[in-house]
């Protein structure tokens, strides 16, 4: 096999290179030539092509994502902001947490089990890289229609993969989402969130500083994984036979990752690294160029020292490989022996593959010859930036005009119709119990899980002594975003924020995963621009900064994009997890209150979707000031011990919220719908900014006074009582019947 060295490249300027097959545009290729002052070697071309891909360079989204920084609310909580592997948030008492959500959509469609498993593995390494111990995961998921044959292939595999990897790592799964919609049929969304904890002083950064320091690659050996997504390699023109077609499917090994986590934490505790980076997308290309570019500026790597699983790999392939469970650390020479000793103790393969330099160049050597010699910033941080054209699509007005009014979509009105509608909704795949999924996840491991699914937010204890804890929720509503991406993104944030507050935690910071169709479609790009603008504006108003996230484009089948789906994760802090508020009703006789205002808002609602297959009109109104007040009430109510239960009102409206509170506790409720409101609207409207709470009689006045003082509407809607949800003057359904309806759906579909 001929190796395309720098010297050879300089001498053969006219060689035709397969840049287009590698996904580079002609002008991008020309820019690489201009940067280098010659044609790139095949290894350099491989590096630039993966690092300048949409996935790694954020070239289409960058100009929009900037708003998260520019509009960031003032806060002292942010210890590390956007730009690192994950943001770090101060939660007090010397503790910090880091959290982030990422997508693994396409791989999970191709090979559901491994795609989802490696998605979990990747986000966990991002959290570990910050110096934190990963402590919990969550999994926001979207699939095609629940009864579609391909969903029966994808969903069980994805769930088994997330469980298979997360359970084996010993990370409790504390929440997530399972949503079904037509548009996700060929494009399931598999997003994974991880949260980790650390002490303030333990933060690690991805930078290679200090010339002479060693670059250590450790963890799994490098194989051909993840290469060949485009099936043509940079080296093709240089090797007559062409490289063997490499597998693009990455296979995860959670056992290796678990050992890697413990090994890393021991290394961190002994203070043995200057900088550290996980190997994720773009593998070594990414890790070396990012480390060098953020540090002293240069690095020398001897590529043939990389331990290989497959000895036939070419240098280009080694640079591009996305083999899982690998890390790259920068270590002072004096500490290297101790570093390697700890790796040995955990049976982790560790190899010194290079050293930090101050040359400003990333130089990669292969069997004594230089195959890469580039300024690392141009690879890692100075990739192309696109201002993609975007435009509000023509049909948007018609869509919004098609409101689900009573004369357009018939509504149930008699008690019998309302009862039947309720049972139908409860059993609908989007609202039905997700136990079939979540019972495959370990929620107990590590012994700090205070709340987990189906609670509004997952909550873990951070400090056993003081009871300090964090709560997390993720939300996203593609239908709302389709109707109005600006408001839809804000609604997603508001819902996650409300969920965290409902658990009793004070919302502090935000992560997001922006799942969209092709950025080359101006209509999709408009959705993206509107969603990011809406999210950034809302974060500013709610006072919660975005700390990091991920963008996933090209989620589309042919011309049809998925519903625009920004998934928003909110993290909150609670001083004592003992004060958490669960969602299930407390003792009989307690008062049930509805906080917030109900309007006739059924655009994009679950009712319109389930009963009429309809999507049109406007999503519910966003009132961020109200959301903030509501959160204050929920947090204060928890802190002062006024609440025995709280549950936010969202998909499926008040009806679904009450059903879920009954199911969670096994207790019924007698409910009086407020006067002067249409019973159907009262039960099924999806107005935002609302929550149902249960309070002991003795606290009722204190609680309602608190609401009144903040000008937040509150109405007494019933009492916890009996074993049925009894909507006075309308209908009654026993908790047992509700449970049967809710729990039968997923097992019937997935076995």
């Amino acid at each position: 096999m001929t190796v395309d060295t720098v010297a050879h490249a300089a001498a053969t300027p006219d060689v035709v290179q397969p840049f287009a097959e590698l996904g580079l545009k002609p002008d991008e290729y020309e820019r690489i030539r201009a940067i280098l002052g010659r044609r790139p070697t095949s290894s350099e071309l491989a590096m630039y092509s993966v690092m300048w891909s949409e996935h790694c360079s954020y070239k289409s989204s960058k100009v929009h994502l900037r708003q998260f920084g520019e509009k960031a609310p003032k806060t002292d909580a942010l210890l590390v902001g956007i730009g690192e592997n994950a943001g770090v948030v101060d939660i007090g008492q010397g503790w910090a947490v880091t959290f982030k959500v990422e997508s693994h959509n396409h791989p999970s469609y191709v090979e559901p089990y491994q795609g989802a498993a490696t998605g979990v593995g990747g986000i966990v390494r991002d959290i570990l890289t910050m110096g934190a111990r990963p402590v919990a995961v969550m999994d926001p998921l979207r699939f095609g229609p629940a009864d579609a044959p391909d969903t029966r292939r994808v969903l069980p595999g994805v769930v088994a993969g997330i469980g298979g990897y997360g359970n084996c790592l010993g990370l409790p799964n504390i929440g997530g989402e399972v949503v079904f919609d037509e548009t996700y049929l060929g494009n399931p969304l598999v997003n994974a969130l991880c949260v980790g904890t650390l002490r303030h002083g333990d933060i690690k950064l991805a930078k290679a500083s200090g010339p002479g320091n060693l670059v250590v690659l450790f963890g799994a050996k490098t194989g051909g994984d993840g290469i060949g997504g485009v099936s043509v390699l940079a080296s093709e023109t240089f090797d007559a036979d062409g490289p063997a077609k490499r597998p693009s499917v990455q296979v995860g090994d959670p056992f290796t990752e678990k050992v890697l986590i413990e090994c890393c934490l021991e290394i961190f505790a002994a203070d043995l690294v200057v900088g550290i980076q996980d190997l994720g997308g773009a593998g070594l290309s990414c890790a070396t160029s990012e480390l060098a570019s953020a540090g002293s500026g240069g690095m020398h790597v001897v590529l043939d020292r990389v331990p290989l699983r497959d000895p036939t790999l070419s240098p280009e392939e080694i640079l591009m490989s996305e083999s899982q469970e690998r890390m790259c650390a920068v270590v002072e020479p004096a500490k290297a022996a101790r570093f390697l000793e700890i790796c040995e103790r955990w049976d982790v393969t560790a190899t010194v593959v290079g050293e930090v330099t101050d040359t400003g160049r990333l130089v990669v050597e292969w069997h004594g010859e230089v195959v890469v010699d580039v300024p690392p910033r141009t690879v890692a941080h100075e990739g192309p930036v696109y201002h993609r054209p975007f435009a509000r699509p023509g049909g948007q007005d018609d869509l919004q005009a098609d409101a689900p009014t009573a004369d357009r979509l018939p509504r149930p009105s008699t008690p019998d119709e309302l009862r039947a509608t309720l049972l139908r909704m409860v059993a609908a795949p989007n609202l039905a119990a997700k136990t079939w999924v979540t019972s495959q996840y370990d929620r107990y491991v590590r012994g700090n899980t205070v709340l987990a699914q189906p609670e509004d937010a997952g909550m873990v204890r951070v400090d056993e002594e003081t009871g300090l804890g964090v709560a997390l929720a993720t939300d996203g509503n593609g239908r709302h975003c389709r109707l109005d991406p600006y408001a839809g993104a804000q609604l997603a944030l508001a819902e996650a924020y409300r969920n965290v507050a409902a658990s009793g935690a004070r919302p502090l910071a935000v992560t997001n995963c922006l799942n969209f169709g092709s950025p080359e479609d101006p209509a999709v790009m408009w959705q993206f621009a509107e969603a990011t603008r809406g999210l950034a504006d809302a974060c500013l108003e709610l006072g919660v900064p975005v700390t990091g996230g991920n963008v996933s484009f090209y989620n589309q089948t042919g011309e049809v994009a998925i519903l625009p789906t920004p998934v928003v994760g909110v993290l909150g802090v609670i001083d004592d997890v003992d004060r958490r508020t669960p969602m299930g009703f407390g003792p009989e006789g307690e008062t049930v209150l509805l906080v917030g205002e109900t309007r006739d808002e059924l655009g994009g609602s679950e009712w319109a979707h389930v009963v009429h297959g309809h999507l049109g009109g406007l999503p519910p109104v966003v009132d961020l000031r109200r959301e903030r007040q509501l959160a204050e009430i929920l947090v204060a109510g928890s802190r002062d011990g006024m609440l025995t239960a709280a549950h936010d009102v969202s998909d499926g409206g008040l009806a679904q919220a009450l059903v879920e509170m009954c199911l969670r506790s096994g207790r019924g409720a007698r409910v009086f719908l407020p006067d002067g409101v249409d019973p159907f609207v009262a039960l099924f409207s999806e107005s935002a900014g609302r929550a149902v709470v249960a309070v002991p009689r003795s606290e009722e006045l204190r609680f309602t006074d608190m609401c009144v003082a903040r000008h937040v509407p509150v109405v007494r809607i019933g009492v916890v009582d009996g074993d049925a949800l009894d909507v006075q003057e309308q209908f009654s359904v026993t908790v047992e019947e509700l449970r049967a309806a809710s729990e039968a759906t997923l097992p019937a579909l997935f076995g």
Binding site: V110, E111, Q114, A220, G223, G224, D225, A244, R246, P247, V249, Q250, V251, D253, F255, T256, R309, D310, S323, Q324, D347
Partner: protein, 81 residues
């Protein structure tokens, strides 16, 4: 009555963590000289009727559609009387 035996193995280039774990364990147990271990699945399927070409064809189909995940696995099929 005929028997179909289907062996399903991960493609050679795909990571096999199970095989690796077994290889490590064999080494620790003192079995020297083991250079590679791959772990796969074996299906023994009993089918009514003769062990003929038709069965072989059906067996091939069973393996290709259900027993093996062709994204990451290869299979071989044998029909025995």
């Amino acid at each position: 009555m005929a028997r179909v035996v289907v062996d399903v193995m991960l493609k050679p280039e795909i990571l096999d963590p199970q095989g690796q774990a077994v290889q490590g364990a064999l080494a620790r147990l003192g079995f020297g000289g083991v250079t590679s271990v791959r772990q796969g699945k074996r299906f023994e399927i009993d089918v009514a009727g003769p062990a003929d070409d038709d069965l072989a064809a059906r067996a091939e189909q069973m393996a290709g559609t259900l027993l093996a995940n062709l994204v990451i696995e290869d299979f071989t099929v044998r029909v025995e009387p």
